[in-house]
């Protein structure tokens, strides 16, 4: 199977929408407004934080600035600061993924540089830096629902409960294993 045709290729996985359990995106925006336009989405690896930021971006008005920090080279505050426009104002929303990568000093730099932005939402593994707007959680039921959307045959053929357990609820790792399963034919 060609990688582009694999039902678990990243472009297909990334096209999945975030599944809210309980509150929806409207509630999230309300909570953001209540906290003065500052807040965090919190969750473990592969729990849908980036997907939720994607959803949020579609619903935020004005100019949106996205930045992502990861464990590789892009973990310094400079990586975020370089992306910010010179005149960051009330019409701007900044969405920062991987905020847990910043140390105390880096977070202070980013926090000060984004102080004039109308909204700042961070995604982080841990709560604490900003008020938690939403906790991202996964479950075997959620995995089954997403796999069924991508490829119903796989949902019927694979023990998804076991997959979920082995990857400790990290859906991205589950999808990668399913990709490998399909690429081997």
């Amino acid at each position: 199977m060609r990688p582009a045709d694999n039902p678990f290729a990243s472009h297909r996985v990334d096209s999945l929408s975030y599944r809210f359990i309980g509150p929806d995106v409207g509630d999230l925006l309300d909570a953001l407004a209540r906290h003065g336009g500052r807040g965090a989405v919190v969750g473990r690896h592969g729990s849908g934080k980036t997907t939720l930021l994607d959803t949020l971006e579609q619903h935020l008005g004005g100019a949106v600035v996205r930045a992502r920090l990861d464990t590789g080279t892009a973990r310094r505050a400079d990586h975020v600061l370089h992306r910010l426009p010179a005149a960051l104002g009330p019409g701007h929303a900044v969405l920062l993924d991987g905020a847990e990568q910043l140390g105390w000093w880096g977070w202070r730099q980013v926090s000060r540089a984004t102080a004039t932005a109308g909204r700042l939402v961070i995604a982080s593994h841990r709560p604490g830096r900003l008020p938690t707007l939403h906790q991202c959680r996964t479950s075997p039921t959620l995995l089954a629902e997403l796999v069924r959307e991508l490829d119903p045959a796989t949902a019927d053929a694979v023990d998804l409960d076991d997959l979920f357990r082995r990857h400790r609820g990290n859906l991205r790792l589950c999808f990668r294993e399913l990709y490998d399963l399909h690429s081997r034919g």
Binding site: P3, A4, N6, S10, Y179, S183
Partner: protein, 144 residues
């Protein structure tokens, strides 16, 4: 109803690296676009992060709701269209009406042959030869 079309000369889809892609971009839109842009690019899809590079583009400002434009875009010498285990690299032409973003896409094969290059796994390395001497050759556990 918006209609965007890319007509390639000779209805070609396969090009050699370094070839020139020629044809006409045609658009019939409900409203005047700011501009119409034709992009020649490659992109990857597969297990990891997607990658994309626009190698050439032709922008028509104040294009009007209906129009057409001939184009000739030179392909670079690489990369080839290919599929491996982790990614597929595909070439495409895209006609986009701005700022709305309506688009038409045509996939191309850019390779020495009419189909994309397939990269196959090398598989397991062959074991090194072992040499046996004497009566152990053909040794059977039941002989013990």
């Amino acid at each position: 109803m918006n209609d965007l079309r890319i007509d390639l000369d000779g209805d070609r889809r396969w090009y050699l690296p370094g070839d020139t892609v020629t044809g006409r971009a045609v658009w019939r839109l409900d409203a005047d676009p700011e501009a119409v842009e034709l992009r020649l690019f490659w992109h990857t899809r597969g297990k990891g992060t997607e990658d994309v590079e626009v190698v050439d583009q032709v922008r028509t400002e104040a294009a009007g709701a209906a129009g057409e434009r001939a184009f000739a875009l030179r392909l670079p010498l690489g990369p080839y269209s290919f599929s491996g285990t982790l990614i597929t690299l595909s070439w495409a032409l895209e006609l986009v009406a701005l700022p709305g973003g309506e688009l038409e896409r045509v996939e191309l094969v850019v390779a020495p042959t009419p189909v994309e290059v397939r990269l196959t796994s090398l598989g397991r390395q062959p074991r090194s030869h072992s040499v046996s001497f004497g009566p152990k050759a053909g040794f059977d556990r039941s002989d013990r």
